[in-house]
């Protein structure tokens, strides 16, 4: 069997404060193959954001191991730069820096990673063109619309050519139409670039439309409760949403999430 791109092995994250001990995620294990599009779905507080922050070394796990391409992320030391460069993180809020222009924001990872040269600079222009923002490259984030801002957030995470994209409810704050539009654009990007994507959402429809596999997460403690393979044909289109198969998946996932909510009440 081919080595998984990403591997979580019994990963647990416990936060200790003066008053209480919170288990953010407990014994999370999964493998993700190269080029897969996987969603994590679940109610708030299930630790789905924690999972990708652990992978991106923003936080360190309390127990367990995390591997990228078979290489473990160091448990105490900072993640090596070869590993971090394999990943791009897309935030829930676009999280652009308001004192930088659109172009400067997109180029930020290049500056921090110290990637210089014609190749990287042309990457910025190519990505801006891909999402139709070339003419806004000198605008400031406050001068463009919410959808455009989120597109900038997406391509900023791609500018250093990572193999893995970590997306933390990236389109959650957008209106329905813009969100659908961006989902389709994201599918196009994924098909063209063959990146491995972990997508976090609480929107069932979005999860089914985009992913090959959906992990359903539960709360108290945060953990993976079930996984559902979405074997809808590719390429996915918006009109699939009304097909029977899609609706069956929707029902199945909604039920699974409903069970979590019920168990919480008990």
């Amino acid at each position: 069997m081919q080595e998984p791109k990403i591997k979580f092995n019994n990963v647990t994250k416990i936060y200790k404060t003066n008053r209480q001990i919170i288990t953010a995620v407990k014994d999370v294990s999964f493998n993700i193959s190269e080029g897969d599009f996987v969603s994590l779905i679940g109610p708030s507080g299930c630790g789905k954001s924690t999972v990708i922050r652990l992978l991106d070394d923003i936080i360190k796990p309390t127990h367990g191991e995390i591997y990228i391409d078979g290489e473990g992320i160091p448990k105490r030391k900072k993640i090596p730069s070869e590993q971090i460069k394999k990943m791009g993180f897309i935030f829930q809020q676009p999280n652009l820096l308001p004192w930088m222009t659109v172009r400067q924001n997109v180029a930020l990872p290049l500056r921090v990673f110290g990637l210089k040269g014609e190749k990287w600079e042309s990457n910025v222009d190519r990505l801006l063109k891909m999402v139709g923002l070339t003419e806004y490259s000198d605008a400031y984030p406050t001068e463009i619309s919410g959808g455009m801002v989120q597109r900038v957030g997406v391509i900023r995470a791609m500018v250093h050519e990572p193999e893995i994209l970590l997306m933390d409810e990236p389109f959650g704050a957008l209106d329905e139409m813009t969100r659908e539009q961006l989902n389709i654009e994201l599918l196009d990007i994924w098909r063209e670039t063959k990146k491995t994507i972990i997508f976090i959402t609480h929107n069932v429809e979005e999860a089914i439309l985009l992913s090959s596999k959906v992990y359903v997460m539960g709360t108290n403690p945060g953990r993976i409760v079930s996984e559902v393979d979405i074997d809808l044909p590719r390429p996915r289109t918006l009109d699939m949403i009304i097909t029977k198969k899609f609706i069956d998946f929707e029902k199945k996932l909604t039920d699974l999430i409903g069970e979590i909510d019920l168990s919480k009440i008990k």
Partner: protein, 251 residues
């Protein structure tokens, strides 16, 4: 802001200024208050022009003291804030003393400073620095500590080192707080300068206010007070202007 609003913003204070000083003159006339107790604004303005040559060396000394002290205090305050917010131990060690410097009125230290170091301008500049750097430090440190967490996570996701995170995210994010500190520093510097000049020596506007008051030269004392006000307002306006030029995104 519309053109009309901007015009109102300029005219209203000018009208207020004229009204206030007109009232002042009228009150003096109606109640027949003698000039050596409270001179009218016209007499004060006249003194500001007529005796300007006498005032100028003192004005200049005060300006030098305030601006030099301010120019040294601001970078010290910001640099120290950057250090203490990055190193917890340093923060724990220095924090109580910085609060001590902010809350202790400097005039209490000045006689001792002069006893140690004499009456020259250097002592006055040192006093201005001590009194005004702490407020920049406090405000900057607040700003550095309150950067949105997702912005810090962004830098972590790029494995940025401390210097990169500070220069690219933390410092620009906290500029509004830093500028609040710089504005207060300008005010503290002016106050500190005049306070020190009150206490010792015969140079600077503060010393002249004391001297003219003692010799019933109330007009001249007021003229000096007005000069202090002009210096203070100018410094404040310069800082505000710089703030508007630099922080375009927060408006």
């Amino acid at each position: 802001m519309s053109k009309k609003e901007r015009l109102v913003g300029i005219i209203a204070p000018v009208v207020m200024f004229i009204t206030l000083f007109a009232l002042w003159e009228i009150v003096l006339k109606v109640f027949e208050i003698p000039r050596w107790i409270l001179p009218g604004p016209l007499a004060i303005f006249k003194s500001m022009f007529v005796d300007f040559a006498d005032f100028w060396p003192h004005i200049w000394l005060s300006i030098i003291t305030i601006f030099t002290g301010f120019a040294i205090a601001v970078p010290i305050g910001i640099l120290l804030a950057a250090l203490i917010t990055n190193f917890k131990l340093l923060n724990a060690a220095l924090d109580p003393y910085i609060i001590f410097l902010v809350v202790t009125p400097l005039v209490t230290l000045v006689p001792l400073l002069m006893f140690f170091l004499g009456f020259g301008i250097n002592v006055r500049i040192i006093a201005v620095i001590i009194q005004s750097f702490a407020i920049v430090n406090m405000n900057s440190a607040t700003g550095f500590n309150n950067v949105e967490r997702v912005r810090l996570e962004l830098m972590q996701s790029l494995r940025a080192n401390r210097v990169q995170a500070f220069s690219r995210v933390i410092f620009p994010s906290s500029l509004p707080d830093v500028f609040t500190g710089i504005k207060l520093c300008g005010i503290f510097a002016t106050t500190a300068c005049v306070s020190v000049e009150y206490v010792g020596g015969n140079e600077g506007l503060g010393s002249q206010i004391i001297k003219h008051t003692q010799f019933m030269g109330t007009e001249k004392a007021f003229a000096c007070i007005f000069f202090v006000a002009i210096i203070g307002i100018s410094l404040y306006s310069l800082i505000s202007l710089a703030e508007k030029k630099i922080i375009k995104w927060s408006i």
